[in-house]
Structure formats: structure tokens, C-alpha cells
Symmetry: C2
């Protein structure tokens, strides 16, 4: 069967600092794509979400009545339209059903909700990752690495529980603003120092209570000639990711496989760390997952009354 | 017996960002004191260590031949004279014996070494804290909180092992530069929110593997109305100190008492956290400890051939 060529909807993943837009056919075929740094923050500054969206839709030649489905921080309080969170355990259908239309625009634009974990001991929120998880359609332990890495336990078509780890943000702060900046150089390719990275992962996994100490050791080691400064970035990255995995595995104790949803250089890094931790890793492409999740939501939001499939 | 009034030596604790100088009698009586922000970094910029030292000694009316004993970062590679580390396990006498004279100055100035832990798995360094530990003259587990908290295991007149934790620096980075700055306000008085602080300590102690997750929860909790933003600084402080204690207690497993060497607001904070962790706490004044350690070193460095005690 040939791929479809008629746009069914436009789909946007609108984060804090990035914007991605696709024109999608009914079967998921990508008919057009735009990416920019016009995330929530700059979209607000640049004259509004509607203007940014229409500019990119125009450039893709989208019809004026093509509906648009959006996930991510565009639905946050500081975003375009605040869309209340769906509470975990969150059934996939409830996420699509929670979408809200954007008022005051000619086009039919719906923004998907995030998911909230209203547990006083483990409060957590996500906006955007839930759509990747829905699109993935997999069960078990799901890891979405990033500035704020998310781990989710998915069962029976529901996001049962999840945890966010500030791994990426803490790495950047330590590497660039702490005393470690004198040791951690510009070479951030942790996998070029795979052994040091692996030792960092093991230390983070096995003795997470020593994290704040091992950070200082990243400086003391090269100072005493006991380790290479060039390895410090790899060791730091390993330590933090190891600590993250140590914490995250308690979400589904005993589970030995993880679906790793990621694009770019973090894919290999997290895969290597998860293997050190003894996990069986299945990689999934983050872009494909979010498109699939947006498409599934669009099918709920924009039902086709009379459809003729070619 | 009356306190002595004749200066025996001047004693300086010269750190990265602070300078403290005392005129001390043979029995430890403080005959004069100066404090400034002219630490290693600004002393170098301000025309040199000798000029800074002589200015303050002159203001205290010190005789031109009064000897001076110095500890701290003045002995680092980037300091006044690099004084090689004494290796741990470090006997107290070896620290005084490792002092080096400053060449090219009229006055007899000796700078004490720091201590190095040349263990590839736990490399560590201290410069200044060893003098506090010597001055303390106590055995067991010693905690010196700060930007880089130090914990030492002291036995039979030796610093056997020690660990540095980047607790204070990580707190400042997270509170001021991370996404948590939107939650952690200017109110940093953790003990004004003692219950939240204590819960943070317990979380850090009992589940250190969740540190990077609990950081994010500091933001998610108030966002979901599950905790007070005003408590976030206390919770953050507790989390980090709890994690530090969880790691540090392995230095002397089974030890249930700690000597806490500290001045200022950290004293009560750490005492409270250590009590949550089940430690019996003995507080010692950091300034008194360093003066006592400098005096003990001065007695070795500047022996009095014929002494007449009053």
C-alpha cells in the first residue's frame, strides 16, 4: 500500500525551548517538517504562539482549515492555554480526552494535557513526555533522558507512576559553574572515555550516598595525579546517570528491561549506562514516538465522520 | 594564673576567600585579631601575600621579628608558597614538620601543608581543615561543614582518612542557578522550617539514590499545591546535608558520635541534621580550633630555647 499524501493534521511538540511541527497523513506519513528554537519562552516574546504556529504552517503549505494537535509546555500555566494535568495513574485515552481547544483562533488547535503525580512524597509532573509514552505503545519501564530525565512505569495502557531526575541540568551546572569547571574541559564526549564513564556509572549506581563526595573527587583525582582531567566529564556524566538509574529502578522493582526513548547523542550514553546496570535496552526514536502519540490523540480529537481510504 | 600578654607568634588562616590573623601569647591568649576578605584570590591581585600580611601585622602593632604561622590555601600551588601535602594517614606531628618557610621575606613566616588522600578510589585533599583537626585534639568522627564539607576519621593522633562533600556549593548552585530558583526564595533560614528540613534530611539519609529526583520534587510539590514553596530552601538544605551524612558515616562505620567543628549558622543546622541521623553531637568552635592548631604548629616551628614562664 502506498503512503498517503493528504495531510490529516499538523502535529506540534512545543517545549520550553524548542518547537517541532509535522504535517501528518492519516497513516502517520510525514508530509512536512519544521524545527526551530521558538519554544514557549521565545514564542511568548516573539508576539505569541498563534503567530509562530501560522508562520510555520504557511511555510509548509498547510490548508487554512487543517487541524493542529499540540503537546508540551504550550499547555503550561505560562504557555498558550493552560490545560489541566491528567492525574497518574493516567490511562492513555484520558490524555487525548483532556485536550483543550485554543480559543480565539480560526484554526482548530487542541493542546494536550500533561500528567501529574499527586503524591506528597513523590510529587511530579510531565508535559510532552506523556505523548511520547502514548505513541510508544509499550509496557514496562520507559526512560526518556534529557535535561530533566523522566522514567515511567507503564502498564495496561496507563502511565502508572513516574519520576523526574534533574540529571542533565545538574551536569551542566557542575561542568560549567562549579569548581569542577577547572577540571571538566570542553571535551564532553563521554563515550570517547568509555571506561571512565563506566566506572562513574558503577559508582553512582552502587554508592549513591557518596555522590556529593565523588563530585569533589573529580577535582582531587587529577590534582593528585591519580586520574586524567580529560576523563572528568565522562566520570561526571557516568556518576549522575548511575545515580539516576539507581533511583529510577525502584519504580518497577525487578524489571530488567527498559525502553529508551531518545534522539541524538544521549541515546548511546544512556544505553551504555543501562547495560552497566544490567538492563536489557530497547531503543526507540523520540521523534517517531511523539509523532505517533500526537497522531493517536488527533484521531480522538478530530474524528473523520466519513472516510474513504485509498 | 593570669593570661599572658606577650605575643609568642602571629597565626593566620588564609583561605581562598578569607583571611584571619591573630596575635597569640604562648598560652593561646588572643592579643589581637584581624579578619578580611583578602583571601588567596584577592591577595594575589592586591600586590601579594607579604604586603597584605604586613599591613595587618602593622595594624596590630606586631614586632618586626614576630614569627608567623600560616595554614590554608596560601600553601596551594596558586598560593604564596606551594607546600607539598602530607599523605593520609597523617600524624599530627608530620603536619607541623611539613611547614615550609617563605623565602625572600624579612620575617620568619612558615606555611603549613595540607593533607592528601592518595587513594585512586577516593582521592581527596584538604588545606586548612587539618589544622583545625589538630587543634581540636579529639578522636573519632569530625565534621567540618561548609562550601566543601570535610569529614575526617581521627585516631591515635592521626588523620586516618577523610572525605570532602560539595554540599554548600551544590546548594548555592541549585538555589540560585537551577530551575529551583523559581521555587527557592530568599528565605534561606532552614531552621525556621525545622519540620521540612528534618523531612529533607531523612529523605537524603534514607534514599540517597533519589537525590536527583527529590530535587525536581522541590519544584513539582508547590506546583501541585502539595507542599509550600517557602519550605523549599529548608527541604533542599536538608536533602543535601542528609545525603552528605549518609555518605560520611561510612568513614567510621558504627561510630555514633561526631565532633562538629563550625562557627555561625551552619552549627545549628548540622547539629539538627546529625541528630536526625542519630548521632550524638559535640560542637566545637572552628576559630578556637584553628588557633589552637596553629599554636601547636608554632611551638614546633619556633621552639623557645630559654623560656621564663611568669
Amino acid at each position: 500500500m502506498a503512503s498517503e499524501t493528504v495531510p490529516f493534521c499538523a502535529a506540534a511538540d512545543w517545549g520550553t525551548s524548542s518547537f517541532r511541527l509535522w504535517l501528518l497523513a492519516r497513516d502517520g506519513t510525514v508530509l512536512g517538517e519544521k524545527r526551530s528554537r521558538e519554544g514557549m519562552q521565545s514564542a511568548v516574546a516573539a508576539g505569541g504562539f498563534a503567530a509562530v504556529l501560522e508562520t510555520h504552517l504557511g511555510a509548509l503549505g498547510a490548508a487554512p482549515d487543517l487541524p493542529v494537535i499540540v503537546c508540551g509546555m504550550a499547555g503550561a500555566k505560562q504557555g498558550w492555554v493552560e490545560v489541566p494535568y491528567v492525574d497518574a495513574p493516567a490511562p492513555f485515552e484520558a490524555i487525548a480526552a483532556g485536550a483543550l481547544p485554543v480559543p480565539g483562533v480560526a484554526r482548530d488547535v487542541r493542546i494536550l494535557p500533561g500528567v501529574a503525580q499527586r503524591d506528597a512524597a513523590r510529587p511530579d509532573v510531565m508535559r510532552g513526555e506523556e505523548t511520547q509514552i502514548v505513541g510508544l505503545g509499550r509496557e514496562g519501564l520507559v526512560c526518556l533522558p534529557g535535561t530533566h530525565s523522566k522514567w515511567a512505569a507503564v502498564r495496561a495502557g496507563r502511565i502508572e507512576a513516574f519520576s523526574t531526575f534533574m540529571t542533565g541540568e545538574v551536569f551542566a551546572l557542575l561542568a560549567e559553574q562549579s569548581i569542577l569547571r577547572h577540571t571538566v574541559g570542553a571535551d564532553r564526549d563521554a563515550l570517547a572515555h568509555a571506561e571512565a564513564f563506566g566506572r562513574g556509572v558503577e559508582a553512582g549506581l552502587n554508592e549513591p550516598e557518596l555522590l556529593l563526595n565523588r563530585l569533589f573527587a573529580l577535582r582531587a583525582g587529577p590534582l593528585l595525579g591519580l586520574s586524567e582531567g580529560a576523563e572528568a566529564a565522562a566520570r561526571l556524566s557516568g556518576l549522575l546517570i548511575g545515580s539516576e538509574i539507581a533511583g529510577a529502578r525502584s519504580l518497577l522493582p525487578g524489571e530488567r528491561s527498559v525502553v529508551l526513548v531518545v534522539s541524538g547523542p544521549l541515546a548511546d550514553l544512556y544505553a551504555a549506562a543501562l547495560e552497566v546496570a544490567g538492563f536489557e535496552v530497547a531503543k526507540a526514536d523520540a521523534d517517531a514516538a511523539v509523532r505517533q502519540g500526537l497522531l493517536a490523540a488527533a484521531e480522538c480529537c478530530f474524528p473523520i465522520e466519513t472516510e474513504t481510504r485509498s
